[in-house]
């Protein structure tokens, strides 16, 4: 039993905005004071400190084939970013595991870095179904954190065949089967149809372009998967990375895609990369106003930003053509992996420079989106780790949002060309701690569909972060005083003190089992592994937690 008393509590799900409250913990859950024998409880006096639920990241790339290709390709990202193994207890002998890396850190280091920053749940942004087993194997080596993965479906042959033949019920049953088979958590759509077309050295640029060989369009893929998401009652909503990522003028197609989803629930990820103005070949401009306006007008839409942070990082996405383009543009090394009948993807290192006008505009777009989207429950903090920058930069971004002077100081340092006519100086908004708690845990947990996380109400998982209340918000959020996971103190003063496994959340929606025969035939015809070997069994997850669907 633990009591965290006298702290100022920010618990937006329960409407608590900086009130002094005592939080009681028993058996890994938040409980009412009546359930606790105070004399037997460990008491943390959080007088003058800030208490929040543990951080919940809605979109980050931490595990799986692409991430590991990034690690392997970048020994330069590892060197100088080493974390030694450390003894936690003498008897029994317990050590943390050593590791390396910054933008593509090894698995154990990824977990420790997140936890030491006060995060307790992280969702992996994109796993090819065929590589789900790999993703889960890495999850097993990402301790402490709870995790789950979104499964790539926007270029899936079975689904596109169903759409062409107007068999959306069949597609629905397949998606249900696929989520269960991959132990995935939700539907991810990346450049629908464009990744398939890249296998012919082409792409899609418009919602009504044709996918080669399937006679379907990005629009129909989006509509069908959104309908399926609803039919299956998945905890999360369709998680969408649209068309033309990273290209000048893509804000128009992004706005069109957002509007196409009007009336449907959807999450648009790393909106920053999708909100550029200007024409190809001309200087890029921020078009954050364009996309933010559409988001503000559509209450069913949520976004995460994918903020750019200046410095070296590694970009990776299932959007194969994007990575090739970046490689061709920069000459940086390039990894690509086309995955049979499902998807593709690539990895390219990248340096975001203040002095580079394009990079500086990318930086501006992210901040402007944060400041222009009015409802904090619908805009979430991410860097699309590691695409915009490593997640370890979140505290810096938080300070940018909370501290206009700090933000403007940074603004003065960026490319003059990008500063010209920029909107950012006009945006006076400063985020409050309450709003930060929404965009980093309350809002994200709710949108992912993890009702027992992101808040401190009775019954919630006792994932709790206690911060010293410092004027320098970057320092404050970089090194919390205490981090509890399931009621266990796992980090103190920014250092891991206990290692334990985390959970993997997944869904397994019901479906008409008649689909299995068709899936079997599809796998026999289109894959190089047997149907029997495709699915990840429950036994392969040492700490899985199935989350119910509500069809």
């Amino acid at each position: 039993m633990i009591g965290i008393i006298n702290g100022r509590v920010y618990d937006p799900c329960n409407g608590i905005d900086g009130k002094v409250r005592d939080i009681w913990v028993k058996d890994g859950r938040i409980v009412s004071p009546a359930e606790v024998d105070r004399s037997a409880a460990d008491i943390i006096d959080a007088d003058g400190m800030v208490v929040m639920p543990g951080g919940v990241d809605i979109h980050s790339h931490i595990a799986g084939g692409k991430v590991n290709a990034g690690r392997k390709m970048r020994p330069d990202d590892s060197r100088g970013h080493e974390r030694p193994s450390r003894e936690l207890s003498q008897s029994p002998r317990v050590y943390t595991r050593s590791g390396t890396g910054r933008s593509v850190a090894s698995t154990f280091k990824t977990a420790y870095d997140y936890v030491e920053m006060g995060y307790t749940t992280v969702m992996e942004g994109a796993s090819p179904p065929l590589m789900a087993r790999h993703t889960h194997e890495e999850f097993e080596d990402i301790p402490i954190l709870d995790k789950g993965g979104y499964i790539l479906m926007g270029n899936n042959h079975f689904i596109m065949d169903c759409i062409r033949r107007n068999e959306k019920e069949k597609a629905r049953d397949y998606v249900a089967w696929l989520l269960g088979a991959t132990k995935g958590f939700g539907i991810k759509i990346v450049n629908p149809g464009g990744v398939e077309n890249f296998k012919y050295k082409q792409n899609v640029t418009d919602l009504d372009d044709k996918v080669i060989g399937f006679d379907v369009t990005p629009r129909r893929i989006l509509e069908t998967l959104s309908w399926i998401n609803d039919e299956l009652g998945l905890p999360h909503v369709p998680h969408i990375h649209g068309l033309n990522l990273g290209l000048n003028g893509n804000a128009d197609i992004t706005a069109e895609t957002l509007i196409a989803m009007t009336g449907r629930e959807a999450h648009f990820t790393h909106l920053q990369f999708m909100s550029y103005g200007g024409e190809m070949g001309k200087p890029v401009r921020s078009a954050a106003e364009v996309t933010a306006r559409v988001v503000n007008a559509n209450p069913n839409i949520t976004v995460d930003v994918g903020q750019v942070v200046f410095g070296d990082t590694t970009t990776m996405t299932a959007d194969g053509p994007v990575q090739y383009r970046l490689h061709a543009l920069t000459g940086n090394k390039w990894f690509n992996d086309d995955v049979e009948a499902e998807t593709g993807g690539g990895v390219t290192p990248c340096v975001y420079r203040k002095s580079n006008p394009f990079n500086a505009v990318q930086w501006l777009v992210g901040l402007e989106l944060f400041l222009l989207i009015e409802d904090p429950w619908r805009v979430y903090l991410t860097t699309d780790h590691p695409n915009g920058g490593p997640f370890t930069c979140y505290p810096q971004v938080i300070r940018m949002l909370m501290d206009r002077d700090f933000r403007m100081q940074a603004f003065e340092g960026i490319s003059k060309l990008a500063r010209k006519n920029a909107l950012l100086p006009e945006l006076d908004r400063e985020y409050s701690l309450y709003e930060i708690a929404i965009i980093t845990r309350a809002g994200t947990a709710k949108r992912i569909g993890l009702d027992w996380k992101g808040h401190l109400g009775v019954g919630a998982d006792a994932d709790i972060t206690v911060y010293a209340d410092m004027e320098d918000r970057e320092a404050m959020f970089a090194r919390p005083r205490y981090v509890f996971k399931d009621g266990v103190l796992v980090a103190r003063d920014g250092q891991i003190v206990c290692e334990r496994p985390g959970q993997t959340v997944y869904v397994s929606p019901d479906y008409d089992t008649a689909i299995e025969k068709e899936v079997r035939r599809h796998i026999e015809d289109n894959y190089t592994i047997a149907f029997e070997h495709y699915a990840v069994s429950e036994k392969e997850l040492s700490n899985g937690r199935q989350v119910a669907c509500k069809p």
Binding site: K72, T100, K201, W334, E340, T528
Partner: protein, 423 residues
């Protein structure tokens, strides 16, 4: 009585064929249908009968053996851990954990096969694809410095030569197939066009192809013993195909030029993607050598040749690669798992290995085990132990044990050793 297991996974080579029908009588495999000669040998020759571990020439209990292992590792100042390529990722994970715990140097068989491929990847990246993309799409396949007809016997029928796919409905007929090697092989007999190059000239030939594809005029009439006309033809085939794949092997990685050869091939493939789609498929040998790369990378950030001596991973191909460590006599104890360095290493390295206390975990008493201080006859992952394996294209498959085991798994024993250690 005969029992039958369908869809067993063959854990002999990097093809990981997962359609084997295994027949078992009295706990021994008597048939392995659909398996190639290599796979059949693996399934049928293996005797899963539990055997006692051996310490200093004497059969002992597992408990005693584990204690003896712990003592060796406790006493070692500079232990070397090597192997990993034929065991499951579950065992590989435990092995890296042990290395981390004791500050060991750890290296995998990658360093003597496709290590240079890894170095090339670190220099340039790698445009690759899963084997199903080759089967479904590739209208041009090139075998360069590899001989799947003998080393990956079912590669042709399952992935690269004959399978029918969505875009190659006629299978073999829809594919143009080239081979490049320094001598005719069983594989070169299967291709449409074979280019025999002079030994040691891969780099030159690859550079020439890159230059040609970039529009440079080549003045030499022959490159690497190959008439320029033949290379012109190959370059043309490359840039006009829809989806090309080049399967590459140790003919590039283990001959003069090594990683530079592979780099040039990777650069060629990346270049080709400005005109069409092209992928490279490294033909990884052992069943889970790709998995060893993966596990090492996700746990340490590096694929092989790692030292934990400083308390964190430090990467050093040439420095912490097992052959070099042994040749320089830097290790004072060794733990060898699922490989046979005594049979494959250069004489100097193998001879030194015999002089230091060595622990071997292996289902078979291989050459290394015979001279080792301790031999631990563990279960064979894929036959009498279940486990996860990564195919040469990094698709992972869970191989279910096909016969009951009386033997401990590698990971069980490694766990026991860690628990028995003082440090």
């Amino acid at each position: 009585m005969t029992t039958t297991v369908e869809n067993a996974v063959c854990t002999f080579c990097g093809c990981l064929c997962d359609d084997i029908r295994v027949e078992i009588e009295n706990d021994r495999i008597v048939k392995a249908k659909r398996a190639c000669a290599n796979g059949r040998g693996m399934f049928m020759d293996y005797d899963p009968t539990p055997r006692k571990p051996r310490v200093a020439g004497k059969a002992v209990s597992w408990k005693q053996a584990v204690k003896a292992c712990a003592r060796i590792l406790d006493d070692a100042e500079s232990p070397l851990i090597y192997g990993l390529s034929s065991t499951s990722t579950e065992a590989q994970k435990k092995t890296v954990a042990l290395a981390d715990r004791i500050g060991a140097m750890i290296d995998t068989t990658s360093s003597v096969c496709h290590g240079p491929t890894g170095l090339a990847m670190q220099a340039l990246g790698e445009a690759t694809c899963t084997l199903g993309e080759v089967a479904n799409r590739a209208d041009l396949v090139i075998f360069w410095g590899c001989n799947p007809a003998e080393a990956h016997m079912r590669h042709f029928s399952r992935y690269s030569l004959t399978p029918k796919g969505r875009l190659v409905p006629e299978g073999r007929k829809d594919r143009t197939v080239w081979g490049v090697d320094v001598r005719p092989t069983k594989t070169s007999r299967m291709v449409d066009h074979f280019i025999q190059i002079d030994p040691g000239s891969d780099y030159e030939v690859l550079t020439t192809l890159r230059a040609m594809l970039k529009g440079y005029r080549i003045e030499a009439e022959q490159i690497g013993g190959v008439p320029l006309t033949q290379l012109t033809e190959l370059a043309h085939a490359m840039k006009t195909c829809r989806f090309g794949a080049v399967c590459m092997g140790m003919g590039l990685t283990m001959t003069r030029g090594r990683d530079l050869n592979v780099r040039e091939l990777f650069a060629l493939v990346a270049d080709l993607n400005s005109q069409t789609r092209f992928s490279v498929v490294p033909m990884r040998g052992h069943s889970n050598v790709a998995g060893a790369d993966q596990v090492m990378t996700w746990q340490t950030g590096y694929p092989f040749a790692v030292s934990f001596a400083k308390g964190y991973p430090v990467y050093g191909p040439g420095e912490f690669t097992a052959v070099d460590v042994l040749a320089r006599k830097e290790a004072d104890a060794a733990l060898i798992i699922a490989s046979d360095p005594a049979a494959h290493f250069p004489r100097k390295a193998a001879a030194y290995l015999e002089t230091i206390p060595t622990i071997v975990l292996d289902p078979e008493e291989n050459l290394t085990a015979r001279t080792a201080e301790i031999f631990l006859p563990t279960a064979c992952a894929g036959i009498d132990a279940s486990g996860t394996f990564y195919r040469m294209d990094n698709i992972s498959i869970h191989a279910q044990a096909v016969v009951a085991s009386g033997r401990p798994t590698d990971q069980d024993i490694l766990q026991d050793i860690m628990e028995a250690m003082q440090t």
